[in-house]
Amino acid sequence: MSKLSRRRVVVTGVGLVNPFGGDAENFFARIMRGESAVSLYRHPSTLSPLEQPAVSCLLFNPEQEIGRSISSMTDRYSQLGIAAAFSAWDDCGLSRVGAGSDDYGVSWGTGVGGALTIEKGYSDFYERGKLRTSPLSVALAMNNAAASNIAISLGLGGACLSYSVACASSAVSIGEAFRRIQIGESSLIVAGGSEAPLSLSLMRAWEAMRVIAMGNEETAYRACRPFQAGRTGFALGEGGAALVLEELNHAVERGARIYCELAGYGQSCDHTHLVRPDAKGQFRAINAAIHEAGLSPADVGYVNAHGTATPEGDPIEINALKMVFGDHAANLPVSATKSMHGHLLGAAGAMEALVTVLSLFHQKIPPTAHLEEVAADCQGVSHVMGQGLSDVSFQSAISNSFAFGGSNAVLAFRLTS
């Protein structure tokens, strides 16, 4: 199928589980104010006291959000994902009962999936001396459990796929859903990702890589400072986010509210290093996304950056943006919202895609929170700081996701004409 004959794809629903506890609009309003959900997280394990700036969804009540039957049979990463999907589904105007179809599918992303279940299993064996583990362990821990539970709950009989591409997992799940709708494999797909990474062993593992932001009780809320001079890294976050992607005519025919069009998806692999990103690889992914969307660099009005606030990663992303946007880079609004909602690993792409969609829809650009002095190696773009930008007019925006392993995924959104 030629690119010209591909079907158009629009976003008709957004939903999430976030640390503030409210809906997507409430979440967006908060991050427009630069409100941080990062705090000093004390892991409940007694094995090894651990304190780390992190983001947890303490207000999330799985039984209330997805019911007792499902919540008692799922890992936390699935619970966060199912609740996010339900929220997006409600938002797109379809009933949870009887509106499913074999033409509709699920496309999900997660980095560590059922890590909490796996850690509990090992704790039972090696810490508590148990000799066997729950028969639910496999069904809880598997990386496609979230996607399958979403499909079962909503009656979605099309392809039900899960992607694990580290921190680009759910940008890929959204991009691959876009492709399936483009070529006529599905008319509607619930696409997104979820992550529950606050396990003792995972938090220790990230800490050992020296990429976790430093902070104490008083400073944790502003520990993650992308592009800032002296930045120290990111804060792990849990949560889930979903978009309902729909073929344009399908959405119009049922009178759905359309947020914007997902118009381009670019992918690349750095093929240089397992954990050190490469601007040339990122350049290719960004370029591919905006080219497919039919955008020139000057058309892009906002970049939701991957922006993890690591000393190594941020300047490489800025270099990639300067390579793509050339003379326009200096006026290109860029922000990294991980400074507020944390780094959701495999769910980061979906969370940031949702932010990008709402940014475009509301014509408002959220800031990089806690950014006061742009580091010398991160200059050259128009960093959005403070209270964000509320008096802007722009037609398109992109969301960058760059993963360990060198896999890059970029989503380009534009207002529908």
Partner: protein, 78 residues
């Protein structure tokens, strides 16, 4: 706690709308216990009584049949 009470406790923790009056005649699938939930329930009961229910036992379809199966294998003093 009797075997029936153990089953009721599990159902109350795992099912959205548990029956107010659980009877021996209630069908397990009607209550909302699917095959996965049944595995977990039997696992919990095995742990509780320190017993092992046989893999080749006839699959219980009602609460009464499940109680009967457990009673057959649980220690007499329990």
């Amino acid at each position: 706690m009797s075997t029936l009470e153990l089953i009721k406790d599990y159902i109350d923790r795992h099912v959205d709308n548990p029956p107010e009056n659980l009877t021996l005649e209630n069908r397990l699938d009607g209550i909302g216990l699917d095959s996965l939930a049944m595995l977990e329930l039997m696992f919990e009961i095995e742990d509780k009584y320190n017993i092992r229910l046989p893999n080749d036992a006839t699959k219980p379809e009602t609460v009464g049949q499940l109680v009967e199966l457990i009673e057959k294998f649980k220690p007499s003093a329990a």
